[in-house]
Amino acid sequence: MAVNAFYFLREATTSMRRNMALTVAAVMVTSLSLVLLGFVGMVVHAGDGLATNLKYRVDEIRVFLKDEVTAEERDSLERFIKKMPEVKSVRFISKEEALEEFKEMYKDSPDIIEQIEGNPLPAEFKVRMKDPKYNKAVAQRLMNRPEISVDENGKKEIKFPEDVVNKVLKWTGAIQKIGFVVVVAFAIVAVSLVSITIRMAIYARRNEIGIMKLVGATNWFIRWPFIVEGVFEGITGAIVGIIVAIMIHSWLMTKVEAAAEANLISTGYLVLLSFLLILVGMIIGALGSNFALRRYIEV
């Protein structure tokens, strides 16, 4: 078997050298597919980061307090909220802090700030949920707490995340769905492209395969060099693909990240992606050639 392993390697390399055009074509197709795959992977990951970023802001409801609430009442409410299993954290914002925030927010519109006399803003709890889906339930349970202020219509003043954010979230949700579909589609594209390439390579050598069989070669003896070749081409394709993907990443993503003012793709993720691509390349190569060989190797 040791002899054979050596033989298969030698066989694969000579075959690749002598069919240079086919080898280059197969590597190109593999790397193209993997660049696409890697690229989509990056975009989905970046979109994911963006979505988490936004989600971070929508799992929070704001509970406004009556001005007359005492410190004890406030603490009791805070404890009551913190006890709920759905709640991740509670942050108290006093009337003064609220005013500061308001002024900060409207610092470009002095006319609005000028209109404010005293401090009309209420104190509030910013209550962050473990998941946005708990927003409603938690608010429900707060409805009968007397500490919470009431608007003109007698409704408790509890504010949900704003509509705009919701809309953006819908968007990123859709993008993520598309991203997933695209990743699956590209994986299929990549595998079928490589298997087409290898199938054509084998088709081009179908006569040779027939001769090998007549000389007494077993099916596996014929298959192995092709599989080695496929795996090698897959790995080479993956390496080329990774280099191109990283180049695209550093050129484009930095631009996007500058615009988005966030670091969307970490180096760690890139390394992971690279390993994944090499693995996928190997598997594609091996499966592709084995699958393709089935058609032409029947005794």
Partner: protein, 228 residues
Amino acid sequence: MIRFRRVTKVYHGNVYALEDVTVDIEKKEFAFIVGPTGSGKSTFFKLILKEELPTNGEIYIADTNLSEIKKWKVPYLRRKVGCVFQDFKLLPNKTVYENVGYALEVTGRPRRIIEAYVPEVLRLVGLSHKLDSYPDELSGGEQQRVSIARAFVNRPPILLADEPTGNLDPSMSHGIVKLLEKINNTGTTVLMATHDQDIVNTFKKRVIELKEGRVVRDQLRGVYGYGS
């Protein structure tokens, strides 16, 4: 060694390449298969190699019924039957040396055996100077001799040769058949299909004549045709 029992081979449902052929070839025998073009000689060989399956009848190689050989065992059958193909069937991407070596390589022989056997057998057919040529860089006769070398580098117990001298000049042809005779003397069963009157008449071996797929003559120490 090779037994055909009422073998019929029909291609495409209407081309009768072999019809009701019953033949026994003993171990260590040397037989010529003759017959006009299209009479079924190559088909006879293809059936022995299990390259084609008989439409009817049974074929036994060394007492094994070919129709009972499992698919995965077919390569091992073929290693026992060296064959010189009429159209040579050389691997175009391998050199002469590699083409001959391949027949050993498939049997898993170690490198040093290959390095010893291959040049030796190529010397026998007179191609020592073409080791590194590719098939399309060879003349017709040279390709034919590579095919011959490949067929017996493996020392198979059975050697089939389908018109192995069709592209060779008379003196080279004589040399090749002498070589086959020598191989036969070491215990190998040799079957040779040929059109070459001179050879058949000179070597006086068993002659099996086919005509339109039927065995019309099976004669020890025969000559090419009745008329000649």
